[in-house]
């Protein structure tokens, strides 16, 4: 009996909460990483909202009435890259009450990895502005709290790239082992021994030797490989696969 009354009271409390309590604008911001000739880059747009006019910002949108934050992130990515099925990972929530000059906006940040080459094929403007690839190392003073978001996203990328083969979505479909090594060296900001790196990667058994070589290079051409996503899925299902670099 007691339970029943207490139940009712509680439902009412909750109902009134939902009706009367504070509601929030929610946005989704995307850190879009790309990789090109040993540089990690991020797709940014000009911010024209005071007091951040002249600074760059991440690409974001407000969450719509009936979409999940993930759906919103995919929508944003599709709008600005025309690419689908991109790798997408949640970074964190940013909810400081004063983080946005126009009022309270709670934002969810995601990061995504794309091939700059593929991107170049279908460039799209965002809010009538052309997004730009900026080298990660040169990015500073982003608008809002986007510098912190970027830092967090990069940390997440560094962690995940060590554990999962997500890097391949930033590389060309056919790549050389040296390109792959350069990629890891750039993203992780470390140096790797060429022979040991090759040994490790080949030992994973997930690279397909395409029996092709580079051409138009003025030195010994390197062999081309592609990543065996199918085999990776299978191994993943069977047991624990660790992709430690």
């Amino acid at each position: 009996m007691k339970m029943t009354t207490s139940n009712t009271a509680n439902i009412n409390t909750r109902l009134s909460h939902l009706q009367e309590e504070t509601k929030f604008s929610i946005s989704v911001d995307c850190v879009i990483f790309g990789y090109d000739t040993s540089k990690l880059k991020v797709l940014l747009i000009d911010c024209n909202m005071p007091p951040y006019v002249g600074q760059k910002s991440l690409i974001g949108e407000l969450l719509e009435a009936r979409e999940t934050t993930t759906q919103a992130a995919k929508r944003i990515l599709k709008n600005c890259t025309s690419l689908k099925d991109l790798y997408l990972e949640e970074v964190s929530v940013y909810s400081h009450p004063d983080r946005h000059p126009l009022g309270r906006v709670v934002t969810l940040a995601y990061y995504s990895l794309i091939s700059i080459t593929e991107y170049e094929k279908h460039i799209e403007d965002v809010e009538n502005k052309r997004p730009e690839w900026i080298e990660l190392e040169q990015i500073k003073d982003l608008a809002f709290d986007h510098q912190k978001i970027l830092r967090d996203a990069y940390n997440r990328l560094q962690r995940t790239v060590r554990e999962k083969p997500i890097g391949f979505s930033m590389l060309p479909k056919k790549f050389t082992l040296i390109q792959l090594q350069n990629f890891y060296e750039t993203v992780l900001n470390i140096e790797l021994d060429r022979r040991n790196f090759r040994r490790k990667l080949m030992a994973l058994g997930l690279l397909i030797d395409l029996k092709e070589v580079q051409n138009n290079v003025s030195h010994r051409p390197a062999k081309l490989y592609s990543f065996d996503f199918e085999k990776y899925k299978q191994k993943q299902n069977i047991g624990t696969l660790n992709f430690e670099i």
Copy 2:
């Protein structure tokens, strides 16, 4: 010039967004883990909201007007445990439009670790209900999407406990090496070799030998240790400390 007009247009667009567009209730849900005699437990309350009456749920509250989600999580933890400075880690956002029966509520999940012994000293009711410790293994059919939240939180806990010494906040201040080993075996759901475990832990140099032993045990009493948080902080600042178990 063009830039200027385009800027203005954009600010207006954004302003109207914030004023008119959909706003959302945001809640924060806490997965509160505790550990007791080789069992991992979670603090749950009865849910009395249809259609989930009779089921258990995580402890959560709506986000208030001027607090961050982290602050909200701390408020919730303080309310239901009277404990402060608990370990707290973000899990994920849950934003399916139909996840809540009373309307759209986007939730941020956090998990936290507490010592059940400390908790027992200051038990607090939540919404006039007494939360209960339930063994993780026995938890099923939680209300809302809380089962998924719990799964995600446990995954995060398993990952973090391998990398950082967060487990010590769930153990008594003085513990034996066997207790510590049992803790890791329970949380990670694996078996560890006693000798190798001891060697590894002692090699970290972060356990303080208290020169005390258990008493009132009907066998050889084990030595007691405590964790050297100070030294850990220092080592963390100096270089890369990995706490791999």
